[in-house]
Amino acid sequence: MFLTFTVLGLVLGAVYAIAASGLVLTYNTSGIFNFAHGAQAMIGAFTFYQLQVVWGVPTLLAVAIVLGILGPLMGYLLHRFIMGGLRDTAEVTKIVVTVAILLGFVSLSHWVWSPQDARMVRMFFGADSYVSIGGVVIRYHEIICLVAAAGIAIGLRLLFTKSRMGVVMRGAVDDPDLLRLNGHDPERVAAIAWAMGSTLAVLAGILITPVGGGALEANALTLLVIDAFAAALFGRLRSIPRTFVGAVVLGMASTYLVAYAPSNWTWVTNLRDALPMILLFVVLLVLPQDRLRGAAVRTRERYEVPTVRRAAMWGVVLVVATVAFRQLIDDSSVGTLILGLTFAISALSLTLLTGYAGELNLAPISFGAIATLVAFHTGITGQGLDARMSLTGLVLGVLAAAITGALVALPALRLRGLYLALATLAFGGIVSSMVLRETQPRSWFGHEFALFPQGTIIVWPLKVGPLDLGDQDVFLYTAATIFAVLGVGVIALRNSGYGRRLAAMKDSPAAAVMLGQRLVRLKLSVFMISTAIAGLGGILMSMALSSVTSDHFVYTLSLSLVMLTVVGGIGYVSGALFGGLIAGAGFSLIVGTFNELGSAHPEHASTFSIISHLILVAVALVGVGVAHNPSGNMSSIFAGHRFLAGAPEVRYAAIGVTVVLYGLAYAGVIGTWTFGILVAVLWMALPALGLWLRAERLLPPEALAARRGVPLELVGVDVPYPDGFGGQLDRTLGLPARARRATPTIPAQAQAPSEEGESHVRV
């Protein structure tokens, strides 16, 4: 028996190794850790299924199509259109773009291959073709896995050590400019690496499904990236041979675990699913600390930090706007809006952690799950419909999230941000595959109870003194107020010495350390504050949902939230509001609307269904767009509105129009949708509108002169000498700035190189 299990473990390890080596390959040639690696494997496996099983294409031809065309093409296209544009962006942006691709692939596969249908993939040559060596049965499919892995190991080894291409590949991340000087094209090298990595992912995808039982399942395959990552960690994401060792250890461990664990340990299958993730934490613990290296390279992300006063003003605006908007919508929509706001609170945790401190948490919703469970077990008081959540439960839940955050982060804190991001993703996996599957009672610290009874819990709304969130309107206004208060708090934190230290750590860890900053302590504290906020958001989300199942904490939800917050602008509280509202309310609103349309017009139902699927995929495309605008939408909107500072009357007019539109909507003359769209369009188009109406007050003198065809030196001669020209001249000449006044400049102008010398920033 032992030998049989060893062979099974080896085979599983071989497939992990194939997946992991692809990951290492792309990471080392492009510097991008591909979170969509498992999703690519998934697309490969489903395409193979479609060809072989559904369309009856001969197996060999199907394999050739998938490995020879789909794999390389997918990798090449990803590089050509997306990854190639990611140079000079922060690690966060790179991660989010690959996360967006992951989400896009998942929604694409759900669309084409409905997750409700069961699909089986058979082994190559069937399960009955085997050889028997000394009583150990080895199927042909398993031999293929082993041979493929060995071939890939040898091939990659030769490529990297013997071939010119391989040597160039190793240099592609470290110094692309040097490569270019030597006559190589780093982009071409990266494109080839992506094509190879993607093909390896696809190969792993079609091999692993039959090994794991044959059921084709999109989520499991997508999470193959974590297994591959755990294996790659053994080689510190660099060494292919050690990656193979790691993969084999992983494969053996999970096989032996199932084989030899006592049969009364019911949670062993759950543990097996979570094993790569747990092993990942163990490896993180023993990894040596990263060497401190200077790395203050200018990235394209730019965020402005508002003053606390300004933030407080906007906080009030938000609460008032929420109250006003409530009057326009019917009672059934209030719940959706509350849900959006609770997601926005979770997203605030990312503003602090990612926007200000430069670290990443890919599982904010999973921390919300932990907080929810603790609050559920400690805070529910009363019976029947009068049951409520107590403040104690809420506080304990938030504390539990913070403590869990510390435990998750500790192993990864000594290491680079990528490792923390992966540790959080692995944590999300553990919560889904172990914690949320604890649906049966078991003895915990001497008490008999189930962590997640029957897989559905009712989280009653909070009641503190006279404040009862059982009332929908009260809940809505409370959620808006909590978001506003936390948002102002986060901005106040950023403006404090603590926040400056976070910025220092994010911009240059090396310099912060050499000033005496203890990085681990700072990272730990900010991670705990952040997970506490995520915990609060999670509990509120559960209250808004009331009846909560494990589907509400699925990892893709966390990923969507992270992605949309980055799209909105991770450095801004408003970015969190944007991301939260879209992730929490926008999706269900859009899908719901199209479903309603579909049932109202049955003859077009399929069209509406396609549109709603398209929107889900399109959202991922929006995430990919982060590559082009890494500071987020809010940043662009703010830049546009700062530009309006010279003509405040434009804004007053816009406020007036908004109020009038509100009046019309309130009176029922226009619908709520019309109102929302008109207001959004008005405010987004305002900078352009202002430019059209008030160009002479907004544009700097050069631009105005250029518009009128007057050369700069004749400004003041042929055309009137405008206000603000003096300041403009001062800046160009590098003279000390005078007292700040509202000098209208367009952003690009403000960054014009000064004549004192070249800027020190390396672009």
Binding site: R291, G294, G497, A503, A504, K506, A510, G757, H760, R762
Partner: protein, 247 residues
């Protein structure tokens, strides 16, 4: 401490990269109240030695003693908290902060990480004044030209009230006038009791500013002494001019 106390010493420090010995049994010292120069041709091992002193590189052999304590195995942050501060050859400014906040945050860090109570606001203003940065205090640090950005790094280091200030090629990217003002600033700091050690290529600056100079070549220390002694040293002349050029 009097002006001639040895604050930092390296003993027989060795660093090997593969088969290549980058630093070969080097012993130098830096004294309180003086400016010490560390010079040598490209690839002499200056920066590697510098990294050993700041803790960013662990030596393969030898000891480093700072303020009477063996710090060879101490982490960079601990050395900083003992009173060591440095600037970076490839500038490491906090690009999302203004010039003033770049300096202020160093005070925030000291307050949060050591027991020292400093008045961050007042100290920031004093350092800005001292280093002559007040006029650009509110600028974005990413818009500051290289020459003055180097001064911002020095100002930031001074906020930690160090005993030893290590400067990695502080004059590169500075104009002649900027270098002059910079030398003036360093001289003043040394007179107030700070130990300054700089790695520099600008020989006139080093000769004019430093009271002691250590010369490295191919990883080995080939001369130590006053500027006059260094200029006379045959070993130094050979290292800089080379022997292949046969007359």
């Amino acid at each position: 401490m009097s002006a001639s106390d040895i604050l930092l010493e390296t003993h027989e420090v060795v660093v090997r990269f593969g088969g290549n010995t980058a630093v070969d049994r080097v012993g130098i010292d830096v004294r309180t109240g003086t400016v010490t120069g560390l010079i040598g041709p490209n690839g002499a091992g200056k920066t590697t030695l510098f990294n050993c002193i700041t803790g960013m590189q662990r030596p393969d052999a030898g000891r480093i003693v700072f303020a009477g304590e063996d710090i060879t195995r101490l982490a960079p942050g601990s050395r900083a908290r003992m009173g060591m501060a440095r600037t970076f050859q490839r500038l490491e400014l906090f690009l999302s902060l203004s010039v003033r906040d770049n300096i202020r945050v160093a005070g925030d860090i000291v307050r949060a990480n050591t027991g020292r109570r400093i008045d961050v606001e007042a100290e920031t203003d004093r350092v800005l004044e001292l280093t002559g940065l007040t006029d650009i205090a509110h600028r974005d640090v990413s818009d500051v030209p290289t020459g003055r950005a180097r001064v911002v790094e020095v100002a930031r280091a001074l906020m930690t009230q160090p005993r030893l200030l290590l400067l990695d090629e502080p004059a590169s990217g500075q104009t002649e006038q900027e270098t002059e003002r910079f030398a003036e600033l360093l001289r003043g700091l040394a007179d107030d009791g700070l130990a300054v050690c700089l790695v520099e290529h600008d020989l006139p600056l080093v000769m004019g500013l430093c009271s002691r100079i250590h010369v490295l070549d191919h990883g080995a220390l080939i001369a130590s002494g006053t500027p006059a002694e260094i200029q006379e040293s045959p070993a130094v002349i050979e290292a800089y001019i080379g022997t292949e050029v046969v007359a």
